[in-house]
Amino acid sequence: MFDALSNKLSGVFDGLRRRGALNETDVMEALREVRLALLDADVALPVVKDFINKVRERAVGIEVLDSVSPGQQVVKIVNDVMIEALGGAGAVALNLNAVAPIPILMVGLQGSGKTTTSGKLGLRLSQRLRKKVLLASLDVQRPAAQLQLQQLAERAGVASLPIVPGETPLQIARRAMDTGRREVFDIVVLDTAGRLSINQELMDEVRDIRAATNPAEVLLVVDAMTGQDAVNTAKAFNDAVGVTGIVLTRMDGDARGGAALSMRAVTGAPIKLTGSGEKLDALEDFHPERVAGRILGMGDVVGLVEKAAETLDQEEAEKLAKRMARGQFDLEDYAAQLRQITKMGSISSIIGMLPGAGKIQQQLEQAGGANIDKTMLGRQAAIIGSMTRKERKTPDIIKASRKKRIAAGSGTSVQEVNKLLKQFDDMSAMMKRMNKLGQKGLMRHGLSALMPKGMMGGGGRPFR
């Protein structure tokens, strides 16, 4: 939806080729783009203003280096400031330095994901840290909320506090801590009802719960899709109960997640965890350096590599690599590769994770290749599936009548079969070239050595 910030900045600085220091006017123009990018990413306005000031202080007067464009230099400063604002490099662990049973209090607006996160937290603490965890729902507002946590606890294989109808949240909290002490639990997770930050009565209630249980962590659970209201919510909860950590949920969505920056700026509390899926194990450490790129629309390379490592079948990949090296790549391997790609999600979402991807995506679209998506991969898999074993091993034997049969069998057309065979040919040719170049050649010429001329456009400079 949004162009990568780096593209916009390159545009701003295109005319600026002279050497010397960046002056105030140059920087101001660039910062207007940064400001818009941050606002479009849902960073709250007051936080944006602070951020821009910091970047300006650092950017004015820096020398424009020979090798790097001024745009890239400013992007780097923006990125650095962003990482600092998000908490610096590396993840911050949960604070579990307290006498057992250690209470962890979960707070937030309705529908932010407190109960699901509580369940995930139970699983994480019991599996990774070998803690004995008790989950207790203090939510007497939403119908069946207590039952929901109970069912999540069962799935996570941890204990949950028996449900006693008619108790107040404060009574449940006390009973949870008593049970925690009596039955020697390490950690008691207290899941509270969602509440609006302006509801004084409910904010008082959660303040009482905090006072009664003295939690080691008060985790504010926030939806990554939250807009400008993030500052109000963060401030209200922080004033009422003193937030010690933030959990950002729904990071598996496509929101840019500017709320992370707002929350962190308002509470000063570190973002400790992120929720990124419906499964109970989808709770991860927060890495500022990765989310910085996401907010700025500059891609998340580490995320891409991790995603690839997670979903790709390592063994199959190695087998494939070996066959490629020997030049034995056939259509069966191609099909296997298609399956792996399908597992990772659509190509455009993968490309979206790459830095500078905005430009590549544009180029693909201009080249009419915008339709590279799952459906095409599915059709290609169907075409290969309609071939005989022999045909897959030796594609050269596929002539007109075989093509007709394959097209009919896969519900496609002869043109599509041709297209696939052509693609496979190109790929085989590319692999042969790769083998010839060898490791060293690849390092020297980069990917451009493999691509047909013109495909890399202006960006085909060798990596150095």
Binding site: D42, A144, D223, M225, T233, A236, R250
Partner: protein
């Protein structure tokens, strides 16, 4: 209900927007509408989640018509509300049930945690008060205790709840629910679905399957596909509406949680971009707090006029 409808809506909305109106008041009591003032005003709109593009457009209109004039606080508020109401007016369309359909099928969709189940509960309650017979389908077969949550609403409202065991195929369940609702001659069938992020292709496919399957029972169904949006959502709501609309042909929006500190300005951006009807806004916990969308009231509430 002690309060009338308008005052109740206004109360809910103005609570959420007290802050923006205060700031507008602070900025514009007797002031010349110059570049600095316009820029401040633009910031205020951005802070209400209208988005940079829409805020710039509205302020551009102001610049064209009123630049340099001496304005009072109230004039600015009224003019701003008028501008916003103009954008919203075409989308303020109440949900009209087709009483010829037995039942009129409503499919409730949205990302996780926006309030789909609660909205169905509130609707069921309102329909009961109006003598409209509703059947509820517990189509969220994924989330823990989602079925039980809807059953509580069924108990409260007396509406039959059709459900299956955990992880039932939601399309099959929707089909059964439609069959039952037809047998009973119900007026409306409200189908709940599991929350899903719009960028998860497999889950969006599942939603399309539900629609395909209920069409086998009634070719014209679903008669309404309502996307439930959380008012605290920022610019990502544009992506949500875009994808849900394309995948499942959303016919209208429900905007929930407008009684909080979120101002729901994204509704203005959505109206400009997609023009989908806004059928309901949620301004409180009670069933009666799910209200038809009134653009004038909403716009005035948004700027505190």
């Amino acid at each position: 209900m002690a309060l009338g409808f308008l005052s109740r809506l206004k109360q809910g909305l103005s609570r959420s927007t007290a802050k923006i109106s205060e700031s507008i008041g602070a900025v514009f009591t007797r002031r010349k509408l110059d570049d600095a003032a316009l820029s401040d005003l633009e910031d205020l709109l951005v802070a209400a989640d209208l988005g940079t593009a829409v805020a710039a457009r509205i302020i551009g209109e102001f610049r064209r018509t009123r630049f340099g004039s001496e304005v009072t606080d109230d004039e600015v508020k009224q003019a701003l509300a008028g501008e916003i109401a103009k954008i919203l007016a075409p989308v303020a369309i109440p949900l009209a049930l087709d009483r010829g359909k037995k039942p009129h099928v409503v499919l409730m969709v949205g990302v996780n945690g926006t309030g789909k189940t609660t909205t169905i509960g509130k609707l069921a309650q309102q329909y009961r008060e109006q003598g409209i017979r509703a059947v509820l389908a517990a189509g969220d077969t994924f989330r823990a205790a989602a079925v039980e949550q809807l059953q509580v609403w069924g108990d409260r409202t007396g509406a039959p709840v059709i459900f299956g065991p955990p992880n039932t195929d939601s399309a099959g369940l929707a089909f059964d629910a439609l069959a039952r609702a037809q047998e009973q001659g119900a007026d409306v069938l409200l189908i709940d679905t599991a929350g899903r992020l719009h960028n998860k292709a497999a889950l969006m496919d599942e939603l399309q399957k539900i629609i395909r399957v209920i069409k086998k029972k009634d070719e014209t169904a679903p008669h309404s596909v309502l996307l439930v949006l959380d008012a605290t959502t920022g610019q990502n709501a544009l992506n949500q509406v875009d994808v849900f609309r394309e995948m499942v042909n959303v016919t209208g929006l429900v905007v929930t949680k407008l009684d909080g500190s979120a101002r729901g300005g994204i509704v203005v951006a959505l109206a400009e971009e997609f023009g989908l009807p806004v059928h309901f806004v949620g301004v409180g916990e009670q069933a009666g707090d799910l209200r038809p969308f009134d653009p004038g009231e909403f716009a005035r509430g948004l700027v505190g006029a």
